[in-house]
Structures are given as C-alpha cells and as structure tokens.
Symmetry: C2
Subunit: 199 residues, 2 copies
Amino acid sequence: MSKFIPSISRLIEEFAKLPGVGKKSAQRLAFHIINMDQSQAVSFAEAILDVKRKVRYCEKCFNITDQSICDICNDQRRDHDYICVVESPRDLIAIENTKEFHGYYHVLHGAISPMEGIGPNDIKLKELIIRLQSDETKELIIATNPSIEGEATAMYISKLLKGSEIIVSRLAHGLPVGGDLEYADEITLAKAIEGRRNL
Amino acid sequence: MSKFIPSISRLIEEFAKLPGVGKKSAQRLAFHIINMDQSQAVSFAEAILDVKRKVRYCEKCFNITDQSICDICNDQRRDHDYICVVESPRDLIAIENTKEFHGYYHVLHGAISPMEGIGPNDIKLKELIIRLQSDETKELIIATNPSIEGEATAMYISKLLKGSEIIVSRLAHGLPVGGDLEYADEITLAKAIEGRRNL
C-alpha cells in the first residue's frame, strides 16, 4: 500500500470503507476511477454530493424523499386503512415492487436490538405511535425482517398496541417461491407447515 | 428502480458502472452513502476529484504519479541495468511489493490484442523503444500477464529487440507457492516441469 501516491491511497481507503468492499476491490475501483474520463469522475462525485444535499426523511413516514412529504404519503388514492411497518427504505421499495400493497408505510430506520444497544427510542417507533393516534389506520402490517431483531420489534409493537382497535399483523413465513423444499432450513419448513392454508 | 427519487437513481447508476458492481450492490452502496455523515460523503467525493486532478503518467516510465517523473524513475540508487515491462501500474505495485526487483519499470497501459483491436501503437511500446535507445539498459524483463495478450506482447517486444544487445527475459511460469500440485491446471504443470531447476 505504501507504494501508492497519497491521493490514490486516500481514494482506496475511501472505497474500502464501503460495505462489502475489501482492500483488493478498493484498489481495483480506485484504478477504475483513475482510468475514467474526467467528466465521468466529476459526474460520479457530483452524484454523491447531490444525494447528500437532496435526500431527507419524509416527515410523516420517514421514507427517504427529496420533499418534506414523500410521494407515497402525498398520494391520496392509496388505502388509508393500512400502514406497513418496515425497517429500511430499501425494504419499502421491495414491497412496493410487488405491487401487492396499496396502503401507506412507516420506516423505522432500524430494529430493536439489545445486543447492539438499540432500544425502542433509537428507531422511529414513537413517531409511529403518535401517527396512529391521528390516522384512521385499521391494520398495521409489520414487515420487519424475519431476524431476531425484526421479530423482537414486531412483538414490541404488537404489545404496545394491545387493547387498541388496530389489527396488528405480520408477514407470513414459508417457503420461498421457486425454492426447493429439500433445501429449505428446518425453521422455515416448520413455519411453512404451521402456516399451511386450505386449498 | 422507478421508485427511487432521481438523485438516488443517479447514484445507483453511477455505482453500477463500476467494475464488479451489480444492480443490487449498487443499491446497497448508494444507501450506504445516504446513511453516511455529510462530512464522510464530502470526503469520498473529494477523494475522487482529487485523484483525477493529481494523478498523471510519469513522462519516463508511464507509471502513475503526481509529479512529472515518478519516485521510482527519480531514484538514482536503483539498478540502471534492468527495466521491467508491465501492463498496468497495479502490476508494477505487485512487483514492487515483492522487494525482489531493484531496477526501473515501463508501464505499457495494456497489451496487444487483435481481438479487441489493440495494436502495438495503442500501448506505450514506441515510448519503450525510444527509451531503450538512450538508456543503458542491459536486460528487459517482460512481466506482462500470462494471458494470450500478455504472451503476444512479450513475443512482439522480443522480436523488436532481436539483434540488439539487450537481453529480453520473461517471468517464469510454474506452480504458485503454497499451491496444491493436484489442483494445478495442466498447462501450468507442464510449464513447471519444463522450467524445472536443479537443486
């Protein structure tokens, strides 16, 4: 590494900070930038700065947006009965891409994780509860990840809303479509049996 | 993809242009930038711009440098008898890291590849020949890649210098150190037998 000139070392270090980018990949990416046209490199750098300038959280659902209220929250044709709770904006996109859900969202920006010291106050949970008090929501679909943290968060929310008139539901567990039963892990398979549906 | 706001889509596209970065990775990287501190993102963008501002080719060996002549060419204590010819600055770094070579370098910035339309005039080959006419080089060590293109380039250079007093050599082929003979490909194994040395 010592053989690189400072500006290259610095760029390699910056790339190496990105998730999933090791030392060798960071070098390859840095040299790709070096071999780029000047205009392409400027465009890349500008895209990074631009996203930081423009992106903020929707004041209502905390999805990322470039306005004060995001396009989904602004869309009055969506179904006001449902709010789908997700951990991250990327999860929201994944659900939107299914075209199966037409309600609104709430992005928690994380999940409760005592191991990592993330408590209920560290995610946008209070904001969800406040929102539910004024909204006409009938059902809250909790689409946090099927991980320990996601399950804990789902349980926590469902306990918070116990006694309220809001139905709290959770995404179904089961076999992935197109997957091979033989290769499914035991827990998923058990959940798939437990959640079986009559045909 | 259509669900992203323009500034995010643009950043994802920029990341997706990088080598080895697919659509999903590009999304992950873009969201990593979004979640970065402002100062970190600025530092990243600056590193990209900085490298493009400062990095240029050494006028002598065409290694990348931030001066007109690179540190290696400027180092008069190195062995003037040897020039090692490499395809790219990264290959140069790899050889420097072995600490086994103390001569100078020449970076071709590519290899001859008729398939891709890259001829002798598209790489820094003319510059090498001109340089050899004035230098006191005794041996040219051709360290192009052990690929078809690298071999073709090595052959081309050796033919060009036939009849001159300069010795032209090529890096040895053989088994990688620490590798398992059983898993070596046949061509490498054949080259290793061919190049065997007395103990």
